[in-house]
Symmetry: D2
Subunit: 345 residues, 4 copies
């Protein structure tokens, strides 16, 4: 049975496994001080066109979000996010665990609206009771969002500019960054992207690695003692080589972007085949997550043959579902899905 | 240049890499709900002779310590540990980050003394000001300790019994558990061990895995909602298969114990060769960490030829050093070290 | 110039000051173990008709909220509250500071809707991703709410029943409890009230005390080691007598309720005089906070003569204002306000 | 029965109660923005000879310690203190609750030794594993200490100088500051004192107030957003006037120092009468806490006639006891104690 439930159903890109094997017995120091990490960092700096960038490798997404946010905030500050932001919903309160409030804004297909951000910040500062409230100390957005949508260059520019005018950093959750950048709808390069935020990460877990997220502070602006904060958060990998090797491979010959493009190609095929069948999409997602609205009957017809996520029930009895492709989705899997749809509809 | 600086200088046992490769494209759910994790858990339950045990896979040691401790304590409680305990010294305050105090006892070659534990707990409860103090809510020990020493069965039994009489759990940090159990000085089996504590973990990172620690609650006594606490601490691996596969391999055909024994064999050779040369040992460690006391001259003679850690300077100008063997230390490396010692002394 | 800005503009009820003076040199132990506290607790137990109740005296409202909530929750749990709840908006993130998320529900004139609470809890438990989310571990409501409204007996009964069916406690913020209970719209007695929640407090700061909130666990259900948690939160007053004496006075001869009624009487006069002038009220508040909607012109006419709060601007250019009466508002102040309104409109 | 158990057995200085009464119905804004607070701050600035100082009023000692420490530290930092420091022992882990470790140094009659502090900081920075440890981010001392001893001007100067050389602030817990400054052994003025630290507080609770601690940042160096941090810690008093009025009175005509001197005079009489009786003192305390070593027989003779604290049992069967005088200890109480000692020995 094929699965489109998420983009981390398989292991790692074969080149990663090969490199892990070929370097296995080379002795290297721990905690990210190995030469693999150094190489990977250098390649990432080149990719974003910023030799001054600070790069750190952490293990997973929730961990990365809570560690970076805690490191960038002072104790009295909170982080502004969409109400559907991963940190606001699906991280078991990891941000609050480190003492900070998530201050939510309305979401529009998973995105925050620059004007609403500006209004929110203005209203906060205009409110005479602000000293009794949580200071909005940074802005968090996801690229792509939890709904597969992406911000345009204009939107990112506006949001970053608002942040700068309020002297607060912009942090971008890039758990699926490759899938965003390789989308046909994306009008921004990675070099431009790196210039429009204060911190972001290249997600590895969902883009071909066994685990790992590469946190980037583009202007060499890592918070002081970030290494210690990473350790304090339980996010420091002893065998840092595991992360270094993976990102070294991913950022060699643009592998990260090439495998991201595969997911997009396959997702567009999925979108097309549902559309062909007259199945409406909940959101017009330009990335690797597609959200067909299925009837109970349509879902039943697929049951036992293909796995996908039921995202949420609709008032009319239908369901928003999610079909996610990934770095390793094959044409064969897509063809199988097409066949199933033909048979079942 | 050979390195004895630590037991995580290399990658993983080759069988682990093979299994990662052979299972790579099998689609499995995330977050530890894959079949590899299930198999690994089952093997661990058999290893400890407790089908009722709860088993969870986390990524690293500091993370595991702070997550388990936070999950087992109430907000007003602290954890008792040796003043040299890893959680007390080398975890960047990860336990305090989750709001709990580390209450320290004197160390004796890295171990706490059962009588001193009992006295401490009695003194706490006899002190009329105890409601103004941090309640000792659990006891943490390491097996082996940070100094390579191990508790005897009698000591463990006493400590566990003291804990039971005070109704507080005993948690054992097993980052190097295999090296302790395979020591010739160890008088306890893993099944007995599992019956003498309330939680412990099989360290993978230092015993042949790329990463991973297998937390065991021997009587099925995992704290409620432990999964959510793991996620909240940023300790939940999306591709849980990476951990499941590794522990599945490590607990197949007793691989974990066999490779642990290798480290012990090699460490005993190191101890013998230093002793032969008249070099005193700081501690008579029965495990994979050996602590020769070297003069500056002796250290200089080895410089550039072999890597090891300088543990601490002694008042007389000599240095405590640490030579650590591991699951993959080869006889050739040991022979090289022997040759170097012959030449340099 | 008279002020209606809040209900803590003055000191304390004269009987409190007299009692502080007359008991001043009596030596008593600290930390709430004095006889004044004991007497006050006994009177509160009688007031609520529950000899089994646990009573603790804390200093302020935010402190009380965060201490009680942290004590009643496990680490992985959050607290459900109205989006306008004091803990959600005006406590500088004190709840998050202790590691817990505030999970917000829509507000209806400051209140949560029982049906929406039930739906929220049901949706949480129906969501297969719940282990990745913050467990709703208790419900917090304010009585009266931040908008001066109060829950009916039926509403409280429903909310408490929903909590019980989900096995989570209901905690009621009673910073202005007296003003709620003495409202003509209130259909519940304090004895009934105490039976419809798991914890609540009699606010003293806003009802005639210099400071102090009396936390009540009606069924003797205080969380274990609550004293230590109070100390840990910096909420334990060394001279506990200051709180004991005040609550002893407030709960002698029903002073707490009598002075609360004064605030209500005066508030109703304010409501009537604005209504007489054709000024609409933003909310039909039955308690000591009244929210007239004033034009800029009307506000200007009062400027420099009477103080009140500007609550929020309306889209049409008018302003929601707040006039708060208190335990010590005099008829003379009310008459002055009336005269001002006559002159200025 | 007279009590010497502590210095907070009674209410407040009568002048405070008078002022509370005479100002009671004056309407003032809340949260410390009242004119009483402003006056009190001004008087404190004059007292320390620093018009630039920031002054804040908090309610209690533990609260003040944890709030100031949390505000002055970054997340990865801890606070250095004597192992007998109040924050290390008797605050229920309030510092750890805010995420920071208390890093302890040996105590010498309650004091830390400047040389040991320097050695500790040097050892930390020389240790190559420091990034895995808690960064010593500030130094906390008490004046007087928990054992009634005080630092000399030379010691304070050394400690402050060490802090400056390591670029970390020195924070002095002045819960009993008046008793230290008025000691005959004190060789420092309050103006000099204020120049030898980065933050300190005038304790009110133990020196004649009902409650309240006046935190001073002598060079106007309060941490940013300190007001919000105070609120977040539940330490912001709504009726700030209660604190403002008390400190206004205490710093009018040097009342704070005059009543402190009373405690010292009486304590010296107690020391003399025990010495006359041949009772040894555990520590030669120059402040208001005296520590006679009594036999069980001597203690029994006083039982039921005078209250004091049993500090700790000695190995030889005797007990260290504590007799504390205060701002309001009367000559009559001292005479009574003298009579009791005459009768019972």
């Amino acid at each position: 049975m094929i699965s489109f439930t998420c983009d981390y159903n398989e292991g790692a890109h074969p080149l990663i496994l090969e490199r892990l094997a070929s370097t296995n017995m080379i002795q290297q120091p721990g905690y990210g001080e190995d030469s693999f990490c150094e190489n990977a960092k250098e390649k990432i700096r080149q990719t974003i066109g910023r030799p001054q960038a600070d790069v750190f490798f952490l293990v997973g997404g929730t961990q990365t979000n809570s560690t970076v946010i805690d490191a960038m905030l002072r104790g009295y500050e909170g982080v502004v996010a969409a109400q559907t932001g991963h940190i606001a919903v699906h991280e078991s309160g990891a941000v609050e665990f480190s003492g900070h409030k998530v201050l939510t804004l309305p979401q529009h297909q998973g995105k925050i609206c620059p004007d609403e951000l500006e209004s929110y910040l203005k209203a906060f500062h205009d409110d005479p009771t602000w000293p009794h409230m949580v200071w909005p100390g940074m802005v968090y957005i996801s690229f792509p969002t939890e709904y597969g949508t992406i911000y345009s260059k204009e939107e990112l520019t506006k949001i970053h500019s608002i942040c700068k005018s309020h002297k607060i950093p912009l942090f971008i959750d890039g758990a699926r960054l490759g899938y965003g950048l390789m989308s046909p709808a994306c009008d921004i390069t990675i070099k431009e992207f790196a210039g429009l935020c204060d911190a972001f990460y290249f997600g590895g877990t969902k883009v071909g690695a066994l685990c790992g997220e590469a946190v980037v502070f583009p202007e060499g602006n890592a918070p002081g003692h970030f290494f210690t904060t990473v350790k304090q958060h339980g996010a420091l990998l002893a065998k840092g080589r595991l992360l270094g090797i993976q990102f070294d491979v991913l950022f060699t010959d643009e592998l990260y972007f090439r495998i991201s493009r595969n997911a997009i190609d396959k997702a567009m095929q999925i979108k097309a085949m549902f559309t062909e069948k007259g199945v409406p999409m909940f959101i017009d997602s330009p990335t690797n997550q597609q959200f067909p609205i299925l009837t109970g009957e349509q879902m039943a017809a697929l049951e036992g043959k293909v796995l996908f996520e039921v995202w949420e029930p609709l008032p009319d009895g239908r369901y928003v579902t999610r079909f996610a492709t990934s770095w390793c989705t094959t044409q064969e899997q897509i063809n199988d899905l097409y066949r199933l749809l033909q048979e079942s509809h």
